[in-house]
């Protein structure tokens, strides 16, 4: 029963109040069900592009369209309930239990409590943090990895049609990160996804299409198979940088 959104960023520019352009004339179309990784160095504008898709940032010029409707205006809170966002840090609500954090979106959508509990139960079990053991605990008593699992559950519980991930695993140790990447891929089935990362290996693991951003512009937009064969200097740098050293 998965519903997936189609996304279109049309000629969008984002300018800071001081006049610096962070995003310059970006066009990006993501078809329903596609998984796209946005990579680039720090400060390239990746996160800003992601924030355009949940309305945290509004375009200075151009349009952002999700499912044929422009993303703007008073309707934003309601539309965000159908967009799952996983932020850089877990950013759980510190005053709410694990269960209450996960139940946030279902409650906003007016789900029955039993349905919320059942869905939370199966989702948390798949993420390795069973509801009966973790549900009543508070975020501060969890490890970083556990917190990010809760944050994934909070973003995905209501089956959003669009999933936005902003370097969600970058603060975790490599083993936990790898583990979570795998669980994440099995959880994300069929839904449209934009995944921001500066880690090429992670991009190749979670997405089929890679978009390279540099200085606010799309430099390369292709399948992951084509991407690793690209001869663009910046692509080669990324590939070189993610190789293990010879020992």
């Amino acid at each position: 029963m998965t519903v997936a959104s189609s996304v279109s960023i049309d000629n969008v520019t984002v300018t800071t109040p001081r006049g610096d352009a962070i995003v310059r004339g970006v066009n990006l179309r993501i078809e329903a069900g596609e998984s796209v990784a946005l990579i680039g160095r720090s400060g390239a504008g990746k996160t800003t592009i992601l924030r355009l898709l949940n309305g945290l940032t509004l375009p200075s010029t151009g349009r952002v369209v999700i499912d044929d409707t422009e993303l703007r205006g008073d309707d934003l809170p309601r539309r965000r309930r159908n967009i799952g966002t996983i932020l850089q840090a877990p950013a759980l609500f510190p005053h709410r239990s694990v269960y209450d954090n996960v139940a946030t979106v279902p409650r906003l959508l007016g789900w029955r409590e039993e349905r919320t509990r059942e869905t939370a139960d199966s989702m948390l079990a798949r993420l390795g943090i069973p509801l009966d053991r973790f549900g009543a605990r508070f975020p501060r008593s969890l490890s970083g990895g556990e917190q990010q699992r809760v944050s994934i559950a909070r973003a995905m519980i209501a089956h959003p049609a669009l999933l936005l991930c902003d370097e969600p695993f970058s603060a975790l140790d490599p083993l936990v990160r790898h583990d979570l990447q795998e669980q994440f891929v099995t959880l994300r089935t069929g839904v449209t996804m934009l995944f921001v990362t500066h880690d090429l290996a992670e991009a190749l693991r979670v997405a089929r299409r890679i978009v390279l951003i540099d200085d606010g512009e799309v430099v390369c937009d292709t399948t992951r198979e084509e991407f690793v064969r690209s001869t663009l200097p910046l692509v080669r740098q990324f590939i070189e940088a993610s190789r293990l050293p010879e020992v």
Binding site: T85, A91, L108
Partner: protein
């Protein structure tokens, strides 16, 4: 004498409580407004900052000729206490709201909460320790200033102190001063405890 102390203490509590209720009801929304409308907030904070610098006896003096809210009596005392209590409550509400981790703020937005839901469900609860800190300071100030309110016929424990001073009667002075000090201590302890409990409950304590 004991009866007199009890009555004055009761009166003192009523004056302070009435002022605190009004100051809280006005101060928290004002603090929220200051955070949402930055420029208006600066002006508001400036004004209540200035009120705070007026010596308390002078403020009572200023209020006496003001129609409706002023004059001689308990009403003037309450109005003055409200004005004094406003600053710590507004300022601590602002500090608490501004101190929320921007990522948590973003999280409340991206899950699809409306402005009102964010305020009620996330921002105010997380600002609560700071708000209780403001109430603690406001209560302690109000209990102290209320003793001076007796100078304009405000009643309360100040009446005993002023009468004691006039009669050079140390016992009478202490009969007013000791309960007032005790009230201030109790207020400090109670609101301090609320501040700590909310900080622990809401996970913002270090």
């Amino acid at each position: 004498m004991l009866e007199e102390i009890a009555r004055a203490t009761g009166e003192h509590i009523v004056i302070v409580a009435a002022a605190m209720i009004v100051a809280t009801a006005a101060g928290i929304p004002l603090g929220i407004l200051c955070v949402r409308r930055v420029r208006l907030g600066k002006v508001t904070l400036r004004i209540i900052d200035i009120i705070q610098t007026i010596p308390s006896l002078a403020l009572f003096g200023f209020l006496i000729p003001v129609p409706y809210i002023g004059g001689i009596g308990i009403r003037t005392a309450i109005v003055a206490l409200i004005l004094y209590s406003l600053l710590p409550i507004v300022r601590n509400t602002v500090t608490g709201l501004n101190g929320i981790d921007p990522l948590i703020r973003d999280a409340a937005i991206v899950v699809g909460m409306t402005d009102r839901q964010r305020l009620m469900n996330v921002e105010l609860p997380l600002a609560l320790p700071s708000i209780f800190g403001g109430l603690r300071i406001a209560a302690v100030i109000a209990i102290g200033v209320a003793t001076i309110g007796a100078a304009v016929g405000g009643g309360g424990l100040g009446t005993l102190i002023f009468r004691g001073v006039a009669m050079v009667d140390t016992t009478r002075i202490l009969a007013g001063a000791l309960p007032a000090a005790a009230l201030a201590l109790i207020a400090d302890l109670v609101f301090g405890a609320l501040e700590r409990i909310s900080a622990r409950r809401f996970g913002t304590s270090p």
